[in-house]
Symmetry: C2
Subunit: 147 residues, 2 copies
DNA sequence: ACATATTACTTGTTAATTGCAAGTTAAAAT
DNA sequence: ATTTTAACTTGCAATTAACAAGTAATATGT
């Protein structure tokens, strides 16, 4: 069987080495960032909750995006100890580290489009760093409870 | 003909009022941000240059994305006074204001993936604000030349 | 002036992805 | 034991993307 090196199944290669391209390949679609938003800002963690997002995601697309977010190490799934039907999806550190990206995208849209959720926008404008560290703090607590 | 109010052709409605969703609807695909990257960081401005991007965009997709970026007010097209065949695509203020979004996406990917362009990443890590204001400054000059 | 080359596209055609509706499986609640 | 609930999967039509080729309007070289 000495056919070659033993390797982990390799991830499909990227289109380029550019870091922006890496982000785009992981997050550049119409749903991934909205799922992360719902986890980060609204505290959603189950499939059912994600299905209730304002934008109306289709169930097969949600399943596909959760799979890809897991494959990219942005979220993890763990089964709920108190209800065997439930899976809890949680942000990894890599996922939590998207807080500055989401913040800048929110601020950009709010500056140039008519958008809602002005309280959040105001908070971000007043103290971006505080909002980001708040998100990180809340996730630290959340994870220590659930693990 | 008094059939209704005279209105500008209204943009198709957003899926939600959420500012993040607005950003995702304008930028959430596999190409738009790469085109903006090439304008912002590599100084590209013509169709031909965009076609040479590392990731290999198809010509019909490029035409479509440029159209959408114009429709969203992120770029403008103006014909080159010294060569009637050429159109120069330029970032608007709204487009230039994406610099912080791109920066955070680059930093995130560089922190969590194996990526190239380390000199740019290092610059961004050392002084994010300086890189962003550099981009804005260069675009101010560029636009004053070409208009 | 005329042939050739460039630039910025458009037009098929095929392949992949998305959105929608309905169905499935395992665990929990009644 | 039956019904509900949670998290999916499957099938199919519609939309979008990728690939190859072609076109119109300049511009350039001889």
């Amino acid at each position: 069987m000495a056919r070659g090196k033993i390797t982990k199944a390799r991830k499909p290669k990227r289109r380029s080495e550019c870091p922006l391209n890496a982000s785009v390949e992981m997050l550049g679609d119409r749903w991934s960032l909205l799922i992360i938003r719902d986890m980060m800002l609204r505290g959603f963690r189950t499939y059912k909750e994600f299905m209730e997002c304002y934008e109306g995601i289709a169930t097969n697309i949600l399943a596909d995006r959760l799979r890809k977010l897991i494959a990219n190490g942005i979220i993890v799934a763990e089964s709920d100890p108190s209800d065997g039907r439930k899976l809890n999806y949680l942000l990894t550190q890599k996922g939590i580290d998207l807080a500055p990206v989401l913040t800048e995208m929110v601020l950009w849209a709010a500056a140039h489009e008519h958008t809602g959720n002005q309280p959040l926008v105001r908070q971000m404008r007043e103290d971006k760093e505080k909002v980001i560290s708040g998100v990180k703090q809340r996730w630290k607590e959340r994870r220590s409870h659930s693990i």
